[in-house]
Symmetry: C2
């Protein structure tokens, strides 16, 4: 009753095509180094199609020791909608390599990522934030062949250029005293620090003092306090960790009866849909999720093949979008 439809196995396909299961496996998996006549090939494909054959994933991965499943672990943090674009791109790029992406949201009450990794038999797992050494070890012992990023910080690579671009934008517009709005959420801290680092280097390169970094929650009062402080210190432009934080800064300004960019210029990051709806419309630096996803996919494929892989450069993937706030 529970399982009325008997599964179609490769045996069925073999029988219909008049060959052995081995041949079916070879053809369907397109194994290299085999010379199988076009004719046989076609018969097998046809048989598989008419039978609507779907290889049993568990059986396959049990036998092969690999699973073609890639797990993306998303930490429990307030992520903007941008991330879903990234996931889509990543999934698409992986799919082109025959890999399937599934994602796991690390929640406080959910199960540890290593458990999930083991349960789905993922052969690779990607962390949005780098894994600690212990976490990585746990993942490996949970069966993951590849764990990315392999070295802490590598995935944050895109973060630093963002901060750099933000600061540069403001510097180009004549600001000499910058501020940086860090997110209050602790899980976001690593990312925030990375972006701040980028801003620092941009200032240093321009012979300017480092930005005055302040962290703020998404509460108006909190943001208003930060704004007060920046203004008191002579800051004229602030880069925000992301657009949400930038919108908070804008709200903080409004709270004081001030506004951007006159009293304080502000530039966000991520280009969320509501950025242009802000008052005033928010300047922001957007990055090329498509490229990021494709690059990450390439790294996974390489890691799965046991090769080291250079992530390449971020060149050209950032774009600053100038709106009224700066």
């Amino acid at each position: 009753m529970t399982r009325p439809a008997k599964r179609i196995t490769s045996e069925d396909v073999a029988r219909l095509a008049g060959v052995s299961r081995t041949t079916v496996s070879f053809v369907l998996n397109n194994r290299p180094g085999q010379s199988i006549p076009e004719e046989t090939r076609r018969r097998i494909f046809d048989a598989a199609k008419t039978l609507q054959y779907r290889p049993h994933a568990s059986a396959r991965s049990l036998a092969a020791g690999r699973s073609d499943i890639v797990l993306l672990s998303i930490p429990d943090l307030p992520i903007g909608s941008g991330i879903s674009r990234y996931i889509e791109e990543l999934a698409a790029a992986l799919a082109e390599n025959g890999l399937t992406l599934v994602t796991h949201l690390e929640g406080a009450h959910g199960r540890p990522v290593a458990d999930v990794c083991a349960t789905v038999a993922a052969s690779a797992v990607i962390g949005l934030l780098p894994f600690t050494r212990e976490a990585a070890a746990a993942l490996h012992s949970a069966g993951a062949v590849a764990v990315l990023p392999p070295h802490a910080g590598e995935d944050l690579e895109i973060m630093e250029p963002v901060g750099h671009a933000q600061a540069t934008h403001l510097i180009d517009r004549g600001h000499t005293q910058l501020g940086y709005a860090l997110p209050a959420h602790t899980a976001l801290k690593p990312m925030g620090d990375e972006r701040l680092r980028g801003a620092n280097s941009a200032c240093a390169a321009a012979g300017l003092p480092a930005p005055l970094a302040l962290s703020t929650s998404l509460e108006i009062a909190d943001a208003a306090a930060a704004v007060r402080q920046w203004l008191d210190q002579g800051v004229t432009g602030v880069c925000a960790f992301n657009d949400d934080t930038a919108i908070a800064v804008l709200a903080g300004l409004r709270e004081h009866g001030l506004s951007a960019p006159g009293d304080l210029a502000v530039v966000g990051a991520d280009d969320i849909p509501t950025a242009r709806l802000a008052s005033p419309p928010l300047s922001t630096v957007a990055f090329d999720l498509h490229q990021a996803g494709a690059r990450q996919a390439a790294a996974v494929v390489a890691a799965l093949a046991g090769q080291d892989h250079d992530l390449g450069t971020t060149e050209g993937s950032l774009r600053v979008i100038q709106r009224a706030s700066s």
Copy 2:
């Protein structure tokens, strides 16, 4: 090199505990109807622990025919951060039943959800939006034992009450001519229609005409046009499909030099973090994701057990948050 660590199998555990693999399986899976001495049980648990034994998921699901994996399919639509709360709750509730949740973002270029379902050998798949009859069939033939929601619209159940609550809020505040801001994004249409339906019924119940429904993108000009139309028609309060859309409406008002709630009251839905940062802070109706997740989990568990399950009521899971915009 690629696989230096030999897997720890149940055989190892059996050996260390001095029993057979059968017994290990019985104990570790806590199979009912077996009377195994506490002593033996303990030995097995200990052995498993010291060996750090992790059952091989693929082998298990191959043999058992079930996988304990639940796949959540998320359609390609601009989702707010609220959804991740829901996913977390759902994952936690499923975890309590020994089920593991993974999610798949349906992208234009990704693979079809049925493929993913087959690849991960999910035994249940949940759609955020209902599946078409064909899609559900494909999922079943991909190995899914349960596909939810079983009947179109059931998952949208929460949508209608939202619209109802929004309209009621405005009606309570004396508005008699309502507007409804539908999202322009086509993928969001089903949800939007459902919420609108709820608003319609609230108006009908109050003896008022149905809300003037207009759809708007997240572009200021677009929203401004809608605002113009509402105002021309004598609308004094509008419910927006979600907070993003509501923020667009606020921006549209601003574009005309007007503001909420004086010129037009507006109430959103979802209570996104930036709702309170809007100008003016946005009134919104929030719903209890925790409860929604737990209920969905219960439905999955029931479906997996082959039982029909009543989703229960939405009673008390909605909360309207009054801020300055209404």
